[in-house]
């Protein structure tokens, strides 16, 4: 493999890894802070992608779609937490798994009723629809670079929010000791709503920016959900930093696995997970 090809494949890995991180961060935040195992997280990704397709059709602009779509996702997440999830914080994990597994079916059905079962494509915005030539026949699409940039910006924002702001401090305190935090007069219910909506928004944004490159299709949430769980397990359940490292690692293994040993393309990531579990059963960054 020559240098230019290697460089592009590294960019491909990074872009896939960052996208996975957006999803896994929300998943692991919701688990780490509220203790909820959310199997429906992939559905939020699918929701994002379908929203992107629907809104681009209405407004003819991906930026407008993403802004509007994010707001809708936040409202949706907030409502869902208020109506459903908050009743399940103290329940057994098995109850949560059943609830969120059921939700997957409900969301799929709603998607089918609202938007049908067809495969859709979202065009890459005109302005970003070009490639940077790296050698005579290798080039890298600008849209993917921008995508990676957006993911990095959001990851940075998330880091600052959690480690540097008052809200972040309260979130961390609530995750550490719920009763103590409540007794200090902090509205933990509100905090949970915020965190859940944040997680949903991250997944939906991932779905929206991925829509032009991955197309929009029924069941798209489930395949990505499995990858998210792999990332969370490798990174250590509840650790956002672990999710970042694991997502980048999964991106690398998946991309180079596909290219170098296509025979095991589907397995490479699981083999990585098995290896990690063998030596670090609690994941790389257990808190």
């Amino acid at each position: 493999m020559d240098f230019a090809n290697l460089l592009i494949q590294l960019l491909n890995s990074l872009q896939y890894g960052l996208l996975l991180f957006m999803l896994a961060a929300g998943l692991t935040l919701i688990f780490g802070i509220m203790g909820v195992v959310n199997l429906a997280h992939g559905s939020f990704y699918m929701l994002g992608a379908y929203l992107a397709w629907f809104l681009v059709g209405q407004f003819n602009s991906l930026v407008v779609a993403i802004v509007l779509g994010t707001m809708l996702a936040v409202v949706f997440g907030w409502l869902l937490e208020w109506l459903l999830f908050r009743h399940f914080y103290k329940r057994d994990h098995l109850d949560q798994v059943l609830l969120t597994f059921g939700l997957i079916y409900i969301f799929e059905e709603m998607r089918s009723i609202l938007w049908g079962d067809d495969v859709h494509s979202v065009p890459v915005p005109e302005m970003l629809n070009w490639s940077i030539p790296l050698t005579d026949n290798l080039s890298y699409p600008v849209y993917r670079l921008v995508m990676s940039g957006v993911c990095v910006a959001l990851a940075l924002g998330l880091y600052l929010l959690i480690s540097k702001t008052r809200l972040g401090m309260k979130i961390r305190a609530g995750a550490f000791n719920r009763e103590m935090t409540e007794s200090l007069g902090i509205n933990i219910r509100l905090i949970h709503g915020v965190v859940f909506a944040l997680g949903v928004a991250l997944a939906a944004i991932a779905g929206m920016i991925a829509a032009p490159i991955s197309s929009v299709y029924p069941g798209m949430g489930s395949s990505v959900l499995i990858m998210c769980f792999v990332v969370v397990v490798i990174g250590g359940i509840g650790s956002v930093r672990g999710a970042l490292v694991a997502a980048l690692l999964v991106g690398l293994v998946d991309t180079f696995g596909k290219v170098l040993v296509p025979q095991i393309a589907g397995m490479a990531v699981y083999m990585l997970m098995a290896l990690v579990l063998l030596y670090k059963p609690e994941g790389l960054f257990k808190q």
Binding site: M1, D2, A4, N5, I8, Q9, N12, S13, Q15, Y16, D117, D118, V119, S121, V124, N129, S131, N137, L138, S139, P141, R144, I213, S214, S215, Y217, P218, S223, T255, K258, V259, P262, Q263, A265, G266
Partner: protein, 395 residues
């Protein structure tokens, strides 16, 4: 008047029989002289349009006979198989046991087909496969009561390799989803391409139905092959052609594929599909009198343009008509029925074809080029392509 009276008396008889403890379906069957045809096709989901086209084609063939089979009226039963392999056996059993169908027509998805296949082998019910190309149904597990009117997954690609080398494309990369249909399509390609003197530089794959092709397209660009050959279908196919063009590969590398690459997705793929070459047993512009007549009649009947799936459904009907006419509607005369179907020459819109010993069409494969959202037939890639039928012992 008489019919109403007959219905009433029959209903009374049936209710009486049921209440006296006899099984209802058997009574109904004994009293009706209709041929029972069961459709087990996808009516919802990704393949819904395919299921509808197959049923349309089948009904059209029978309607040309006044809706009759060997002189007998036909009664239809329908089950949506949802393209869900997990429900394959259950759905097929329902049609055979509960509805007592004489013929089971289905299906599209190869995984579901394996469920139907098990039921067909266990019960001996006549099964006509209008699409699914899974090899084993007409190879190691071929059966006297199972007939396919479509293709095997490797049949289109068996005709691909020679044509590619003839076009001067001697170094190729193969890419597909890593699942049964992709592997089977590769088998045909590998055989014909290497036999013609071509070299397969690399075989790339990604999990089904993943559509993130970027890493693989980068790899293709760095390998610099003369051509890329592939097997994709449905939404993933449209996405692959778009991404292939977006990466700039279509300027220097000719894209070839099994015909499913461009079936039903040309609208979605847009200009990215222009110039793509595929091999298939049908094309939109065959321009034979037989095909023109079929297309006109189909368009009149269903207000839709027919596609390869409609043709396959139509041919399924034609095959059954040949069989039923030979036994004058007595589908229980299996020996004569199967013999007639085995010997049938089907005058199809795709061109005349015959049934192989393993019950799969021996048919011409066309070379098609995408031009303005149409699969233009530009020649015959190979005449009378037969599946090798490896391991089939009909006994």
């Amino acid at each position: 008047m008489t019919t109403r009276r007959i219905v009433l008396t029959r209903s009374a008889a049936v209710i009486g029989a049921a209440s006296s403890g006899l099984l209802l379906p058997q009574i109904v069957r004994a009293q009706s002289n209709k041929v029972r045809v069961g459709f087990m096709l996808p009516y919802t989901g990704t393949f819904a349009q395919l299921g509808a086209a197959i049923e349309n084609g089948f009904r059209m063939a029978l309607n040309e006979q006044g809706g009759k089979l060997g002189g007998r009226e036909v009664e239809y039963f329908k089950v949506d198989d949802e393209s869900n392999p997990a429900k394959g056996i259950e759905n097929a059993t329902r049609l055979v046991q509960r509805d007592k169908v004489d013929v089971l027509v289905g299906t599209v998805h190869s995984g579901v087909q394996m469920g139907i296949h098990k039921v067909a082998r266990d019960t001996g019910v006549l099964n006509l496969i209008p699409n699914a190309g899974v090899h084993i149904a007409t190879r190691a597990q071929c059966a006297p009561n199972v007939f396919r009117t479509s293709f095997t997954n490797s049949q289109p690609t068996l005709a691909l390799g020679k044509a590619m080398v003839a076009n001067g494309h001697k170094k190729a990369v193969w890419i597909t989803w890593s699942y049964a249909a992709g592997d089977e399509a590769f088998e045909g390609f590998e055989q014909s391409y290497t036999a013609a003197g071509g070299t397969i530089m690399k075989k790339l794959g990604l999990p089904f139905p993943n559509v993130e092709f970027q890493a693989l397209l980068t790899e293709i660009a760095s390998l610099k092959p003369d051509a890329v050959a592939c097997f994709f279908a449905g939404g993933g196919a449209a996405k692959f052609m778009s991404d292939f063009a977006a990466a700039g590969l279509n300027k220097s590398i000719q894209l070839y594929g099994s015909g499913f690459l461009t079936e039903g997705v040309l609208e979605a793929a847009g200009p990215a599909a222009n110039g793509v070459l595929t091999t298939m047993h049908y094309g939109d512009s065959l321009n034979t009198p037989r095909d023109k007549q079929f297309r006109l009649e189909y368009a009149k009947a269903f207000k839709l343009q027919p596609d390869v799936y409609a043709v396959q459904g139509y041919d399924t009907g034609l095959l059954l008509i040949k069989g039923a006419n030979a036994v004058k509607g007595d589908l229980n005369n299996k020996k004569a029925l199967y013999a007639a179907m085995e010997g049938a020459v089907i005058d199809s819109p795709r061109g005349k074809w015959t049934m192989s010993k393993a019950h799969n069409p021996i048919q011409d494969m066309y070379m098609r080029k995408v031009e303005n959202k149409e699969n233009k037939v530009i020649g015959i890639a190979q005449k009378a392509v037969a599946d090798p039928a490896t391991g089939c012992r009909m006994g």
